[in-house]
């Protein structure tokens, strides 16, 4: 076993150095967590065994191909209808070799790896919740200092670069960059809860070695323990519709002190945002802010111009909902009104109440009613959204 471990590590080092000097990547990226290190070892060891079997069998075949051929006048041996005993003996040899590989050489370490992968709670010092939605990730810190921090992370590659026929220079991290990075402390074991609001997603950073499907209506879990500070990139790995290729994951691993500082500034930001919900906004400010929110979150489906992509994604321009009344005579928002649709969603339309704050919802609704070819003229204050949430 030790020998395999050494060979595996050697091979990993060799491949890693190859990685560094060529732009081709031949193996898993450098592992950043214990799980990824383990996965890489398992992979290297298995790869080595598979290669060894392949080469041995290939050599035997090639020898036969070149020497036992008719053109060399090789006379076929007359198999005297092999006695059952001999036949059983010979066919049991490959059987036994694979038995050893499957259930001892690979099987025993695999058992320990599985237990390690699935142990999400032991020694975990913090919990985060990751929610997948078409086509963005939402991160929420569940405990400790950071409790209550919650934000959405969207693809930040400029739209024109991802459009059909773009010929210019692409960003260095084309398709693997987001506006809000998930920030985690180095060295801490983080328990990750995973869920989804619509279809299946899979939150995957190759350097973490963990991969778990986000299932709507269920909580799945995994864990990460990042050992080195740095920025790690990955993307959704479960086909989730037309934006599947456009929902990357970016994680910043910071040393504890810096992480704490980040938590403090983030909390301040959030406090400021919720304070914004209490003040009275002007229509112009709401529209200006709403434009930003719209382009980041809504334009993927409803398009920048509000034209939508019918039939799956209806247009907002001239839409009955965006031009209809929001509140009824009793002062409560109407069912199937503009506000109801944004807060609670319907079918493919996500429920935004979990993802956007009061100011953002008020702004985007005001924007949609007074731009994109609509001119209802009214506006929605964050305080009204706050009330509607009650």
């Amino acid at each position: 076993m030790q020998v395999f471990k050494k060979i595996g590590l050697g091979l990993a080092a060799m491949l890693a150095s190859l990685n560094a000097c060529a732009e081709y990547a031949w193996n898993f990226p450098l592992p950043a967590t214990p799980m990824a290190t383990d996965t890489l070892h398992v992979h290297n060891k298995f790869m080595l065994i598979a290669m060894a079997i392949f080469v041995v069998v290939l050599v035997i075949m090639i020898y036969a191909i070149f020497s036992h051929r008719k053109s060399k006048n090789f006379k076929p041996v007359t198999d005297k209808a092999p006695s059952t005993a001999v036949e059983i003996f010979w066919t049991l040899i490959p059987f036994a070799i694979l038995l050893l590989i499957d259930f001892v050489i690979m099987g025993i370490p695999a058992y320990h790896s599985v237990l390690m992968m699935e142990d999400t709670r032991d020694k975990a010092t913090m919990v985060i919740k990751i929610t997948g939605s078409q086509w963005r990730w939402q991160y929420e810190y569940m405990d400790g200092d950071a409790q209550g921090i919650k934000f959405i992370s969207n693809l930040s590659t400029p739209k024109e670069q991802t459009e059909k026929g773009y010929q210019g220079v692409k960003n260095e991290h084309y398709l693997l960059e987001v506006d809000n990075h998930l920030v985690l402390p180095v060295g801490e074991k983080v328990r990750v809860l995973m869920t989804s609001t619509d279809v299946l997603h899979n939150w995957w950073v190759p350097q973490f070695g963990s991969s778990r499907v986000a299932v709507p209506g269920f909580i799945r879990e995994t864990w990460v323990q990042i050992e080195k500070a740095g920025t790690y990139r990955g993307q959704c790995k479960e086909l989730c519709g037309k934006g599947h290729g456009y929902m990357p994951v970016v994680v910043d691993a910071l040393p504890m002190a810096e992480y704490k500082a980040w938590v403090a500034t983030k909390k301040e930001e959030l406090a400021k945002a919720s304070a914004g919900a209490d003040k009275v906004w002007t229509k112009e400010d709401l529209i200006a802010n709403g434009k930003l929110v719209y382009e980041k979150n809504c334009a993927v489906c409803h398009q920048i111009t509000g034209a939508g992509l019918p039939p799956a994604f209806p247009p907002l321009t001239g839409s009955k909902i965006a031009n209809g009344p929001i509140f009824g005579a009793d002062g409560k928002y109407l069912k199937d009104s503009h506000l109801d649709r944004v807060l609670n969603g319907v079918r493919v339309m996500p429920a935004w109440k979990a993802m956007l704050n009061d100011t953002e919802i008020a702004s985007v609704i005001t924007y949609e009613r007074n731009a994109l070819g609509n001119s209802v003229g009214d506006m929605l204050q964050p305080s009204q959204v706050k009330e509607a949430r009650q």
Binding site: F28, P29, V42, A64, L99, L175, R212, F218, G241, G243
Partner: protein, 530 residues
Amino acid sequence: MSTTTVAHHEEHAEHPSGIMRWLTTTNHKDIGTMYLTFSLIMFFVGGSMILAIRAELFQPGLQLLNPEFFNQLIGVHALIMIFAALMPAATGFANWMIPLQIGAPDMALPRLNNWGFWLLPPSAILLTLPFTLALFGIGDGALATGWTFYPPLSVQGGIGVDFAIFAVHLLGISSVLGSINIIVTLFNMRAPGMTLMKMPMFAWGWLITAFLLIATIPVLAGAVTMLLTDRHFGTHFFDAAGGGDPIMFQHLFWFFGHPEVYILLLPVWGFIPQILETFSRKPMYGYKAQVYSFWAIGALSVVVWAHHFFTAGMPVPALLYFMYSTMAISLPLAVLFFCWIKTMWKGSMSFETPMLFAVGWIILFGIGGLTGLMLADVAADAQYHNSYFVVAHFHYTLFAGGIMGIMAGTYYWLPKMTGHMYSEKLGKLHFWLTAISFNLTFIPQFFLGLAGMPRRIPDYALQFAEFNMISSIAAFVLGFSQLLFVYNIVSCARGGKKATDQVWEGAKGLEWTLPSPPPYHSFTEQPIVK
């Protein structure tokens, strides 16, 4: 009246000609030819879809397709290749060769046989029709969920999903009918003296395949029907909000989906040893061991399904069970590989095109098998899952292990079926072009997967550019070299050097005792097998 009937019955000389011959035929050779032709056409339809995809993936950035259309192409490509190209090819050979190999005059249920075939073209139309409808503004195109139909994405999808569900139903009925026919034929119509353990290996492969189809197709049919009712009739089988579970669909789907892999491969495992013994001029090694391995693999294949979605989350004991049971499949498979190589060992080999394909097949399918063993490891699977590593792996099993096997069979039996020899030179060229470009297409995909490129994405990050470019170029060579295959088949059907009855020097078995091509009705008198 009675005299004409008798005469007709005895001679079978008159059968409808023209289109009616093919529509109404109950002759196993005609039906086999239709299956094989249909399969070849659909191979090119599915192939051109994937070339569009490879063209899109040639370099980063969107060039040709928009993401919705890209998603439609990947799913329909897979469904067509699996259900409309690979399965009908195997059924075509079964129709042609099983009666000839076991000394029967025809299949046991000829009318059912005709119906089984004629269900295929409508289902192919159903699968591809939404593309055309979308051009006229009806619906938003074909199934865009990948071939696996996973809900909730498939519940969300447009009419393409409904079309695909109905297509899968028709294909499923066709497969079950074909399977019943093969089982009945094999159990009742073998020549006197041919015990089950003297049956040709191809017949054995198909017997297990037929049982697997009958066991698993109804589960698939049930699962997609539940999906249909979730979509349109307010049920919540796969919706947590109503007490259902989206992952349950994956369990049902892969209960069919994993055996499906062996359904596609077992017929090939049947005739490859026959090709090996023919061109090694030496009887196949370990006939019994191979038959028992078939049974073992057939039985194991229905109890390992969950290894297709380890990352969906399941209890530790389930993970361990599905990992170890999956690994256990490698044991009988190792026996098969050993027997194939031992058949070649110390034979007197010659390398005509079928043998080239068979030997190349062993090597490439070996890569597919070994990477499959690696995928069984739960820890490593977290990385491989849904990455290009998996894409490369299953193309080694299904393109190399399936389609290249079918090509070996085609070259092997073509002279028997047409009565002419194909061009050996073109055949060999076809083999080398296919084998080399296949590897150049898929080896880079192993590395892409390891580096972290997920499958089913229309556009990718810059670090994946080089390997994708190599893969795309090779894919086009691979695609276009298949035109040689068609040319060779068509020119062989039209004429060429006459084939002898035995065709190959080392060929043994009842089909080689008949003239080439065999008469329209063969074995009107039963041969006796000693």
